[in-house]
């Protein structure tokens, strides 16, 4: 079991401050904020380094910081079944002018990301580039809305979220 500061230190040492932009700590939990372009490299390192050995992706989640900028965050919660330690990695995803946002898919590193990314994608409208099967997971096929965005009307509307297709 490696403590969280050590893991964050190891990451910063390997990738430097341009990639590991911040390592805030809250209640003994450290989060590494990673540059969006390098998320795949960082994740591969976290999985393959023998001391870290993060072989299990617990979940992928999204956060909408509306109206802050950059608007979206994608959070990866990692666990190592051999070392019994956990770590959290975050990517900031700015909203493009057409309302979309995108992050690279970590499906090739942890295949379990498949459904997690599909859910995050439909709920927040974040595209996961390189995802092999980018269909909707939970919402009806015909909806075009992203209900967990902060500017979405909670009750929906007859036009956007009809009862029937």
């Amino acid at each position: 079991m490696t403590n969280q500061e050590t893991i964050a230190g190891k990451l910063s040492e390997r990738f430097g401050p341009e990639v590991i932009q911040d390592t805030p700590a809250f209640r003994d939990q450290v989060t590494a904020v990673v540059a969006r372009e390098r998320i795949l490299d960082v994740c591969r390192f976290l999985r393959d380094d023998p001391e870290l050995a993060f072989d299990f992706l617990s979940f992928v989640a999204g956060v909408d910081r509306y109206p802050a900028s950059p608007r979206f965050e994608v959070v990866y919660q990692l666990y190592s079944t051999t070392k019994n330690h956990r770590f959290r990695v975050k990517v900031l995803a700015p909203e493009e002018s057409d309302g979309s946002a995108s992050v690279d898919s970590v499906f090739r590193i942890w295949p379990t990301a498949d459904w997690h990314e599909r859910e995050t994608a439909e709920m927040f409208g974040i595209t996961f580039k390189g995802h092999p099967d980018p269909r909707k997971l939970l919402l009806p096929e015909n909806w075009t809305v992203h209900p967990l965005r902060k500017d979405f009307p909670l009750e929906g509307t007859e036009e956007l979220t009809p009862d029937l297709p």
Binding site: P140, D163, L164
Partner: protein, 168 residues
């Protein structure tokens, strides 16, 4: 069973409509399906403590083709709604609907984009049973209300034709 004792080897006269209604309400078979937490109370109603078989209703049918009563027990999400309507359409006439619980009646605590705000937007509901969840006694009462309603139907002269309200 002892029913012969009451019949007394004599001729009994009734009208056909009353008899048809009586037969229908005395063997109304519910469809065995639930949508959310209310289904647990529906199951409790079926089992021996509350004993729905007293009313000729203990045979919950797994197939809609054999069922007369749809108890919409729980939250109907919009993703589930097409399946519920499909099942309803597959049930043979005559058929009845009970909306069980706040969710099926009005959407309940889920006033949001994902939940149908009352199954009566789509199905012709006969009896509403409020509660979150309703106790088994409440469901039994709803069923008895439905039985009383069936006894008043003009099943021969003016049969009702239940249909879903929305078209797809």
């Amino acid at each position: 069973m002892g029913i012969e004792r009451h019949l007394n080897d004599t001729v009994h006269v009734t009208n056909l409509e009353w008899f048809v209604n009586w037969a229908r309400k005395s063997s109304m078979w519910p469809l065995g399906f639930g949508l959310a937490c209310c289904a647990l109370e529906m199951i409790a109603t079926f089992v021996s403590r509350y004993d729905l078989s007293r009313f000729g209703m203990e045979v919950a049918r797994p197939s809609p083709r054999q069922a007369d009563l749809m108890i919409v027990a729980g939250t109907a999400s919009k993703k589930m709604l097409p399946a519920v309507l499909r099942i309803y359409e597959q049930m043979a006439d005559p058929k009845w609907v009970i909306a069980m619980g706040a969710c099926a009646c009005t959407g309940g605590i889920y006033k949001n984009y994902a939940v149908v705000q009352g199954i009566d937007r789509h199905l012709p509901v006969d009896v509403y049973v409020p509660g979150c969840p309703p106790r088994p006694e409440a469901l039994l009462d709803g069923i008895l209300q439905l039985h009383a309603r069936v006894m008043k139907e003009q099943s021969i002269r003016n049969p009702r034709i239940p249909r879903i309200k929305t078209t797809r």
